[in-house]
Amino acid sequence: MSELNRRRFLERMTSLSATAMVAPAGLAATAPRASARSDAPTIVPRRSASRARGRVGRPLVLPDIERRQVADLTELTLVEAAAALRDREISAVELLEAYLDRIDRWDEAHYRAFNLVASAEAREAARVADAALAARSGAGDPLTGIPLAIKDNYFTAGVRTTANSYLYEDFVPDFDATSWARLRDAGAILLGKTQMGPLATTAASTPDGERTTRNAWAPFSEEVSPGGSSSGSATAVAGRMAASSTGTQTGGSITNPSNAQGLTGIKPTMGRVSLHGILPLTYTRDHPGPLARDAIDAAAMLAVMAGPDPADPRSMGLPPVPDYVAAVRPVDRAGRPALRRPLRVGVLPDFLREPEPPATEPEQDPTPDADRVGSAPPPPDRSESRYRRELTIGAARRAALRTLEELGAEVLELGFPRDWETLTSFHFNNVRLPERSEIFLEHLRDDVRKFGVSLSPWINGLLLPGAEYVRGQRGRLVLLRSILDDVFGRCDVVTQTAPFPFDMVGLPLIGFPIGFETESAGVPRPIGGMFGAEPYAEDRLLELVAAYQRVTEWHRRRPADPDELREASGSSSEPGSGRYDLFDVMERGE
């Protein structure tokens, strides 16, 4: 990597600081009170059209795929459903009603993926979509009639957008986030807004810590995480209550919930998808992207969401958006599924590392929980069940690499990049905290109780001095250079076992299912794989996963309905009975 062009760099930075986002006007300070799921959508007339279209690029044409026959329309992938709608095999109203039926049956009682279901508006939109599909005889916008679940930090014009926070509990934006506007303009229907961690800080919960969303694979287990702050979006798709969904990732919350729930989620490179109209957790690490059923759906979603947006200078001046749909089109060589292009897969040492044997005696934590919070990563779980789970994960990872080799990939063993351990440590990851605190400083000054159970990291962010913050930002460039030189100088994609390193430097990641295990929850639970790529090389990640999914079936597995799972797990636990405390928030924090 050559030295920076300082003039251009400074010009960009000046532009960014001049257009920094501010909290929406008119948000009155509200006294803390318990927040609960709302079944009554707050929908007001749209006051203005979405801003900031400005997208340039090719029209999206979804790939032709072999369509499966399914008994239940909610089993269709997004691209399958779009094709069935286009060919008038199903109607948008039928598809929507199938999803609403599952939401009615399962969501409030078990999954709790949504905090708002816009059923009336969605039904009207479905009728409009059917009319459009009839008039166009198969042509038209590619996502016409597709119901989507949108994370509740995306502005949706006229529809309440709370980020599950006291701060925004009554907020109704008057414009759409750019990425949602693009999906809507492509014909998608807003089915509802999904549960999330308050202000995207932790796993989905109310501001005072009541856990909301369950993992669709184990809704009766409090031990099985639904993923990060986008867990409502993940459960909505895994529970077949939406065709696909959107999330945001600051510290893993697209790839982690995708891994936890058997989905394919892609966290694009910083700037590839506009952040305009998405409530920020940080300015420098938030990444919007899709959580989808497979790589083909993820490619279709990302193709619509991605592209420059004048309202978000971070999205401007970047390399052209690749053709993601072309990246997932199947290729055969010698009559066998193959990768589209030669692909070198780098394997870092932690990917296949043998797990630590279980502890013979329970380890004593040397400090009380409250004193440990915020200072160090949680101690490793040394239980027998964890050990067995990690052995199974290791076997799944080895099998996934063998599959990639069979598809034509070259698999290379790599060492960690220079200074990897230091620069990806818990402490350098904490450099994000002052950004969070600055964004909501006025609210912190007004009443710290508004931050509920997630208050501690906001306070800690106020305590990191400027010199350390600047050094942390310098470290990010060192880390990126190390990754580019030591990793991507030798391979095209690389294994990852945690999302934080690539979140810190804005590199793209994809999460997707590579197996299942039953040891930890008594019911099948997905095992996720994660790969990263060079800046703006999301197409390489999609190529890899699309080819892998042609020869595997993990992504086609769906969780049984809650009634069956309750019987299988022998559990009488009801969702919503648990709480996250301060300690959980720090451990699961974004």
Binding site: T269, R372, L444, L477, V478, L479
Partner: protein, 92 residues
């Protein structure tokens, strides 16, 4: 002479809880952030002063020092909040 990257220069100064509490309270007062609206100690509350202060002390005892220990050449990399984009903006 420029420091080598990543060179450890650890200087450990253990501060007491009282010293750190004074630092935290002064810093928050300067910003106008008031923790006294929280209960002093209530495990059932979403947050209380005891847990917030304990977390803050541990944070201060660990993260700033760990970052400061990572030495960088003064003529080395500039602070870069969008590293992937900087690379693209410079056509690298």
């Amino acid at each position: 002479m420029p420091q080598a990257r990543g060179e450890a220069r650890r200087r450990t100064v253990e501060l007491s809880d009282d010293e750190l509490d004074a630092y935290i309270e002064a810093r928050l007062k300067l910003l106008g952030v008031d923790l006294s609206v929280l209960p002093e100690e209530d495990e059932d509350a979403p947050a209380d002063q005891r847990r917030i202060m304990a977390s803050a002390r541990r944070f201060l005892r660990s993260t700033p020092g760990a970052i400061a220990d990572y030495a960088l050449d003064p003529l080395g990399p500039p602070p870069t909040i969008y590293p992937s984009e900087v690379r693209a903006w410079n056509d690298e």
